[in-house]
Symmetry: C2
Subunit: 130 residues, 2 copies
DNA sequence: TTCATTTTTGTAATGATTACAATATAAATA
DNA sequence: TATTTATATTGTAATCATTACAAAAATGAA
């Protein structure tokens, strides 16, 4: 499903800005920060403001079409994909990797109503282990 | 193992301040914020400063005897327990619950060197579902 | 067009965290 | 003990991501 349909399905008017942000999120799996989104789109949308990026991400996440990750406590990152995956942050190169995640076993959560799940590892990626 | 032994084992001099912080972390499973630790200890240590709490938590976490959680992006929380458990944040009452965690299944992480793991759910606790 | 609504923008405020220099405390040495 | 050295703690000021807010711009309706 494309960016436009996604927005319309969630009753979000598909303005240029919103479309560009959504398309960007769907085009990369790096889970960019606000800064990165802003820097990437500024050439295309010269009047763009960071506040707009913040507002838009908040809107998207309230509608459940993206997830806002607070991976390393520093900046928020946007995750436009909703397949079940975990995140691996390499403490060497600071890159963020996705990894597939099957069923989570062993969670005893009787009575709790789980809405969102996040699995987050840190360590060293292949390159940085040398 | 008590707070004092833990510190000594990690070559951290067991000053009053450090002991009190460590003991507090071991006495509650609420994963308190810096603010909460500070407020709790101020009556006991009237000269305590927040910077010291930050410094001490950083020291502890570098030595691997606690974990610093960035649960909801707002404040850091300190987790003094190192059994394998996940965290559940109730979006209603904002309370943080621990839950036991068995083996994590389905993680394809060939070649990655995993150092830390965090599993973090949100939703509604029993009380807040009404 | 004109009016009302929504979206975007820029600036200023907030609030957690860190940098840093000064002070206090403890350990080591003479 | 007195003196020196290293370590711990403190307070203030700076940093930086995020939010609040009000104005401006764009869009849609009448």
């Amino acid at each position: 499903m494309g960016a436009k349909e996604t927005l319309i399905n969630h009753n979000i008017r598909p303005s240029i800005t919103r479309l560009e942000i959504m398309e960007y999120l769907l085009s990369v799996r790096t889970h960019p920060t606000v800064e990165e989104i802003y820097d990437y789109l500024l050439p295309k949308i010269p009047t763009l403001s960071k506040t707009t990026v913040y507002n838009t991400l908040k809107l998207f996440s309230e509608e459940g079409i993206i997830k806002l990750l607070t991976i390393d406590g520093a900046q928020v990152r946007a995750d436009g994909f909703n397949d079940m995956h975990g995140h691996f942050l390499c403490t060497g190169c600071r890159k963020l990797f996705d990894f597939p995640l099957g069923e989570l076993a062993g969670e005893c959560l009787d009575g709790f109503d789980v809405k969102t799940r996040e699995v987050y590892y840190t360590g060293l990626c292949k390159n940085c282990q040398k």
